[in-house]
């Protein structure tokens, strides 16, 4: 019995002690890694610039499904790098080729079709991005059915595109423009969201976009009378460039036109610089007095999983208070937050949410004496600047118009950015206050860099009309690709 008791006590103590006090043994055996890093030449950098705006209805103005381009648009681009630059209008086979390598080139001219800018034959290891090639188009249209300034940065084709903006309410038109610059046919599948959630309707999938062509669809044919829209375009077969052309009419009066360009991936903190407000009186006249509610400013939020959002509008001037408001967006719906009571000034919009959301802003401009009385622009969230990005904008200067580089800084510390004119080489340092906004006028080609992650976009004003350009940094998978073998 004694031996058993001893055995019992000893074993219990040993077990308990070992479980509690024994140190964990950590041993790591290093075996060879079955992976490597491979240098590859990235695919040719390609940017697609939209052509002139589309007019619907044909000659009579009432033919369905007839889309024709109107007028011409001014294409401006700048490139510097290795290899050659091919400038190819979509649907015509022969590109114009210019070789690169002997300094930066600039171009400004009219185009009547969407155009692809392609850097071919770049050497392995050479940099990518907007400093290699960047471009934008601007079109000031003045016909009976459409008036306004529409500008867009040339964008890199993609397989999954989100466009948050536009409206198909009465008098509003949203055209989805899909351009395929590749020699392979593509098919696009659309998903459309509204303030009531996803819109289920036939015909959204398998939309054909042939090689080297542009396909235009009226969103109203899928989702009529929807005033808050968000569209997802997913492609297979080839990458596409996409915009929404948004036009507003009030009766026979045109109240502006602009492009909605692709959004970034949904985030918890969206920063939308470039919110430039002019002509508030005219805006209030139209929006408030005449009751055309969506003629004013607004912020649009699309929350795939629902979110509580806080929207803050911050001015570049410390004395001017912008606006702050909160709201809830139901899952899978799009909601517009109208912004009223903003004085003339230059602002940036900060949207914070508890779930990732897509956020865009529509800034309106009032033009008392001119036509159109109202023009607007759609601004998207931008990415923090780290490396230098180039932007090519119009050369117009006050009093005819201006290009403003608007900076936004969402954090609690003041930051700075350096803006260099690529033509003259003059650099300007702009400081951006904590949780604030700054402004700098630019012309032509400029590069923007910041060592601390500032956000920026360009607002373009011309003849009392407004549009905006995004600062893109197009890159292709390349240079160094990590491959692991199993």
């Amino acid at each position: 019995m004694i031996t058993r008791a001893i055995a019992f006590v000893a074993t219990s103590l040993l077990l308990a002690g070992a479980l509690v006090f024994a140190p964990p043994v950590g041993l790591s055996v290093d075996l060879g890694s079955a992976s490597g890093s491979f240098d590859v030449k990235p695919a040719d950098q390609s940017l697609v610039c939209p052509g002139p705006l589309f007019v619907t209805g044909g000659a009579s103005g009432t033919d369905l499904g007839v889309f024709e381009r109107t007028g011409s648009t001014t294409l401006r681009y700048s490139a510097e790098g290795t290899g050659a630059l091919e400038v190819k209008p979509i649907a015509i086979q022969d590109p114009a080729v210019t070789s690169l390598g002997s300094g930066r080139i600039y171009f400004a001219g009219e185009i009547t079709n969407s155009t692809e800018l392609r850097n071919t034959g770049a050497s392995v290891g050479s940099p990518q991005g907007s400093m290699v090639v960047t471009g934008s188009t601007t079109q000031l249209v003045a016909i009976d059915s459409m008036r306004g300034l529409a500008a867009a940065s040339c964008q890199q084709p993609s397989g999954d595109i989100w466009l948050v903006g536009g409206s198909t309410a009465a008098g509003r038109e949203a055209l989805l423009i899909l351009t395929n610059p590749t020699p392979n046919d593509a098919t696009a599948d659309l998903t459309i969201y509204s303030d009531l959630g996803e819109i289920e309707v036939a015909g959204l999938s398998g939309i054909s976009v042939l090689a080297n062509s542009t396909t235009v669809l009226s969103i109203a044919s899928f989702a009529p009378t929807v005033s808050t829209l968000a569209v997802q375009v997913q492609t297979s077969g080839a990458k596409l460039a996409a915009w929404i052309q948004h036009r507003v009419m009030n009766g026979t009066e045109s109240l502006g036109v602009d492009y909605v360009y692709p959004s970034l991936a949904p985030q918890l903190e969206s920063v939308i610089p470039g919110f430039v407000v002019r002509g508030t009186e005219a805006i209030n006249q139209v929006a408030v007095t005449e009751g055309i509610a969506d003629a004013g400013h607004s912020v649009r939020v699309f929350a795939p999983t629902g979110a509580e959002v806080t929207i803050q509008i911050v001015s570049t001037s410390a004395e001017v208070f912008g606006a702050v408001f909160t709201g809830t967006v139901e899952p899978g719906t799009v909601r517009d937050f109208p912004i009223t009571d903003l004085l003339d000034g230059n602002y940036s919009v900060f949207v914070t949410s508890d779930q990732p959301v897509f956020a865009t802003a529509k800034a309106a401009i009032g033009n008392d004496a001119g036509t159109p009385r109202i023009d607007f622009t759609w601004l998207g969230a931008s990415e923090p600047l780290t490396e230098a990005r180039a932007i090519m904008t119009s050369a117009v200067i006050p009093p005819d118009g201006a290009s403003y580089l608007v900076f936004a800084n969402p954090i609690n510390e003041a930051r700075s950015a350096t803006v260099t004119s690529l033509e003259t080489g003059v650099a300007t340092v702009v400081s951006v206050p904590a949780q604030g906004s700054s402004l700098l006028g630019i012309t032509g080609a400029a590069s923007v860099s910041s060592d601390s992650g500032v956000f920026a976009s360009v607002a373009l004003l011309l003849n009392g009309q407004i549009s905006s350009l995004a600062l893109y940094q197009p890159t292709n998978l390349g240079n160094s690709v990590q491959v692991r073998f199993r």
Binding site: A22, V29, L31, V483
Partner: protein
């Protein structure tokens, strides 16, 4: 007394016994008037020894044979029926005739049937029915001390040696030809009684009866079915034949339901071996309604009284109980004598009904199987996080075992995992559909583990309930249930086979018995094969078991040879791998688990003993560790420390090894790493603990109740609940793991390689190359996983392949065709679906998009010539050696003839010394 007696001897293929019968017939003090041998032999014709022979067809039944004999001889007086295994004593006929002389109303007189070899043992003295309608022999297997010599009237007598009044015979229309064999004689006797005659035994008349048909020693053709079923069929037939019309109809209609209910009762009463006969007999009687009806009409024609008048002659309940007790005692004494014969001198405690079936354990095993029903296999192949289908060709699996060249990736040369040998063995019974063996084993893992633990528990406990509960707690131990729910096939194979191995090892080491010098061949063979399979499935557990075997060999030096020989097969399988790993300096990687590795999520802290105890929904199954651990500790206070201390030693060794192993990590670079799974070690830990609980529960009533109650309530019920509600994440398929178009190519003999791509969140890519129908469970090689074979910095082929993958992903238009052609890559598969990769590949002109398949997006590379898979059966010297060792131990494992016990109800008191060795 002079009476006309016609003796009929029924001969059926037993000439050696017939000789004695005929010789004894010649020696009768009163000779029969006439003797006729009715020969229904099929093969061995009877030698007549001068008597008249009537040859009949071998299919002639008993009743028909007698009838034909009577028709042939047309006798008067009496009929004396002898079987070819019933030899009458010299005064048998004389004593029988004296009985009928004393009582003219005696229609049938039966002799005292004694044992053929030992006439001092009574085999049968009249037959009757119990109140429940079962056939019952009052006197059976007793020593003849004259205690039954006053017996007279009985309900029935057997026909062997019976003297029958021919007038009564004719009045009753002979034996009932439609009745089942065992019912014919009882039916005849009952009808004789109901017609008014007497049926009695004449104890002075002795007949030596071999009772061949009762023992099942007659060729099955004669009886048609096994004796137990025949007896039950006879009982049911008699019951239906003699029942009143209403009861007959009800009885026939409800034959089957009643039989099923009866089977349940039999199961509960630990008589599960009687279930088969019960159901079979019910089926036979049900379908032979015609025979029952004809028997009924014969009864109605030839008798007037009802069977109720014979109730005084039925066996009483007390008699039945006494008989049951005697049977149990007989079983115990038989087993004791048998073990004594094997040379063991220690007194063993043998309980009756301790087999797997008779103790009712089989029902618990079926219950465990029922718990698995929510995920019953719906197809032949199973896939999960730790299991894949096997190749559909068994020869391919066999070819891979012990091979040195593998087709995985771009081809790999290295020692194969011993795991492939285990898979080969496991799938060999189902060689036409190997992957079904994996699916079945996984589904049956818990019952298999339960059965093994039950067998093993025989060594520590005798109470059936204790054994069942401890085996259930092993089957529901978290190690096994987690392995099943995470589909970790290699671990669950090791754990389920573990108790079987320990049982065999215990038999090899003769644990608990005095040493005998015999070489326990069968158990050595079984143990060697099981140990090799377990070591192949979980090398860590194999290492621990090797240590245990070595320790046991040291402690019992007389058994050192058999014990160490059980390790030989495992060593043979591992030898090439050991040599290779030590040569490369990577010996620790021998402990890597084979097959697909699934992280076990265990850490080295106090929770390890409780299998990573956590407080979430999945932890119901972990509760069982608590009461088991407590009672296992208490077992140390119970008697027999020499049993409990070694078990605790095993448990602590398993726990300590899992502590060490959990912390070992193999870094493969780039953030991916492999660990060693400690699940099987914790299975060994659990097995030792459940055995300890069985031991302590067996010592006293109080401990038994408390241990069983707490383990059941706190452990088994929650674990069973979790097993039912949390089903394993497995999918069933037909074994195909590649898109149909590739599978079709393989079927037609064209083999292309497929490059499978996956993009990671960090923007890189993971690439894999496989040939033909994909990487199945037997293709996975741990050597390949850890080798630097796929390291592009070392291997120029992978450098080239990596460049190809990078070019494909960046869609830069670089020249990819030469590399694709060089490696014979005909297909590119992207899984899971990735839009950017898809767009990149769509824009590559050498690729033709096939579209989205069930296995990912697929592209075909145009104009790549197909390769033909050369499957050389790699028969290197090493593999032949491994095969030879396997064959040797498989031969050992075959049970030998001398071990088969005769199925007699005798106790062999005098055992030949030759038989015992």
């Amino acid at each position: 007394m002079t009476a006309n007696v016609c003796a009929i001897v029924l001969a059926h293929d037993q000439p050696q016994f017939l000789q004695r019968v005929l010789a004894d017939l010649k020696n009768q003090s009163v000779a029969p008037t006439r003797v006729l041998i009715v020969d229904t032999s099929k093969q061995l014709a009877a030698s007549s020894q001068g008597y008249e022979v009537l040859k009949l067809d071998s299919k002639t039944g008993f009743s028909a044979a007698i009838e034909k004999a009577v028709a042939h001889t047309n006798p008067e007086g009496f009929l004396w029926i002898l079987h070819d295994d019933s030899a009458p004593d010299s005064k048998a006929l004389e004593n029988l005739l004296r009985e009928v002389e004393l009582s003219p109303s005696l229609a049938i007189a039966g002799p005292k049937q004694v044992d053929w070899d030992n006439p001092r043992i009574i085999r049968q003295l009249g037959l009757t029915l119990t109140r429940g309608g079962k056939l019952f022999s009052r006197v059976r297997g007793e020593f003849d001390q004259g205690q039954h010599d006053n017996a007279e009237d009985v309900m029935a007598v057997g026909t062997a040696g019976a003297l029958i009044n021919l007038d009564v015979y004719r009045a009753l229309g002979g034996f009932d030809a439609k009745a089942p064999v065992y019912a014919a004689d009882v039916d005849f006797s009952i009808r004789a009684r109901l017609q008014g005659s007497r049926v009695a035994v004449a104890p002075n008349a002795k007949i030596s009866h071999k009772m061949l048909s009762m023992q099942g020693a007659r060729p099955l053709r004669w009886l048609g079915i096994n004796p137990a079923t025949a007896i039950r069929q006879a009982e049911l037939h008699l019951a239906l034949s003699y029942a009143n019309p209403a009861l007959f109809v009800l009885g026939w209609l409800f034959l089957f339901p009643v039989a099923v209910a009866n089977s349940l009762v039999l199961g509960l009463r630990s008589k599960a071996h009687a279930v088969g006969p019960e159901l079979g007999a019910a089926f036979l009687v049900f379908t032979n309604l015609g025979s029952v009806l004809s028997s009924r009409s014969k009864i109605a024609q030839t008798t007037t009284a009802k069977i109720g008048t014979l109730s005084a002659l039925r066996a009483t309940g007390q008699e039945v109980r006494n008989d049951n007790k005697k049977a149990k005692d007989e079983e115990v004494s038989t087993r004791l004598l048998a073990t004594h014969a094997m040379g063991e001198t220690e007194l063993l405690q043998v309980t009756p009904n301790s087999g797997f079936i008779s103790s009712g354990a089989i029902w618990w095993a079926l219950g465990l199987l029922a718990l698995n029903l929510p995920w019953v296999p719906t197809n032949v192949a199973v896939s999960g996080s730790g299991v894949l289908p096997l190749s559909s060709n068994w020869l391919e699996i066999f070819g891979q075992a012990g091979a040195t060249s593998h087709s995985i990736g771009l081809g790999f040369v290295g020692a194969a995992d011993p795991w492939v040998w285990a898979l080969t063995l496991l799938s060999s019974p189902l060689f036409f559909l190997p992957t079904l063996s994996v699916t079945s084993f996984m589904f049956l893992a818990t019952p298999i583990a339960f059965a093994g633990a039950f067998k093993l528990s025989e060594l520590v406990a005798s109470n059936n309930l204790v054994r069942i509960v401890s085996s259930l707690s092993f089957a529901l131990w978290p190690a096994l249930t987690v392995a099943v729910s995470q589909a970790k096939f290699s671990q669950l194979l090791a754990i389920a086979l573990l108790p079987w191995l320990l049982y065999s090892l215990a038999r090899v080491a003769r644990i608990g018995h005095k040493d005998s010098t015999r070489f326990p061949r069968t158990h050595v063979g079984i143990a060697a094969i099981l140990l090799a399979m377990i070591a192949a499935s979980s090398p860590v557990l194999g290492a621990v078991l090797l240590v245990l075997v070595a320790i046991t060999a040291v402690v019992r030096p007389s058994k050192i040879v058999p014990l160490l020989s059980t390790t030989l097969l495992a060593i043979a399988w591992f030898l090439p791998l050991i040599i290779e790993r030590i040569a490369s300096g990577n010996w620790l990687s021998l402990l890597l688990d084979p097959g697909l590795s699934v992280p076990d999520g265990l850490e080295a802290n106090w929770k390890l003993a409780f299998f990573g105890f956590g407080f979430d929904a999945l932890s119901w199954g972990l509760l069982i560790t608590v009461p088991t651990l407590i009672f296992a500790l208490l077992a140390l206070l119970a008697p027999k420390l020499r049993n409990t201390l070694p078990l605790w030693g095993i448990a602590l060794l398993a726990l300590a090894t899992s502590w060490l192993v959990v912390g070992i990590d193999f870094d493969l670079g780039n953030g991916s790493s492999l660990g060693i799974d400690a699940t099987s070690l914790l299975g060994l830990f659990g097995l030792a603990l459940t055995l300890l609980v069985a031991h302590v529960a067996d010592t006293s009533f109080v401990l038994r109740v408390s241990a069983l109650a707490s383990v059941t309530l706190l452990g088994l019920l929650p674990a069973a609940f979790q097993l039912v509600t949390v089903t394993p994440q497995v999918t069933y398929s037909d074994g195909q793991i590649v898109p149909s178009i590739i599978q079709a190519d393989v079927s037609s003999g064209s083999y292309w390689r497929t490059l499978q791509l996956e993009s990671t969140s960090e923007g890189g890519l993971v690439a894999q190359v496989f040939t033909g129908a994909g990487v199945k469970l037997n293709h996975i090689s741990s050597g390949y996983k850890i080798s630097s074979n796929t390291n592009p910095e070392v291997n120029p082929e992978y450098q080239e392949l990596g460049q190809l993958v990078a070019n494909l992903a960046s869609a830069n238009g670089a020249e990819i065709y030469p590399t694709l052609e060089k490696f014979g890559i005909g297909y590119i598969l992207v899984k899971p679906v990735d839009r950017n990769l898809q767009l990149a590949l769509d824009s590559t002109r050498e690729l033709e998009s096939i579209g989205l398949t069930d296995y990912g997006q697929l592209w075909k590379v145009e104009n790549i010539p197909a390769g033909l898979q050369a499957t050389p059966l790699d028969f290197g010297l090493l593999k032949l050696g491994q095969l030879a060792v396997l064959a040797l131990f498989a031969w050992f494992a075959i049970p030998t003839r001398t071990k088969k016990k005769r199925k007699t109800k005798d106790s062999d008191i005098f055992i030949d010394s030759e038989e015992a060795s």
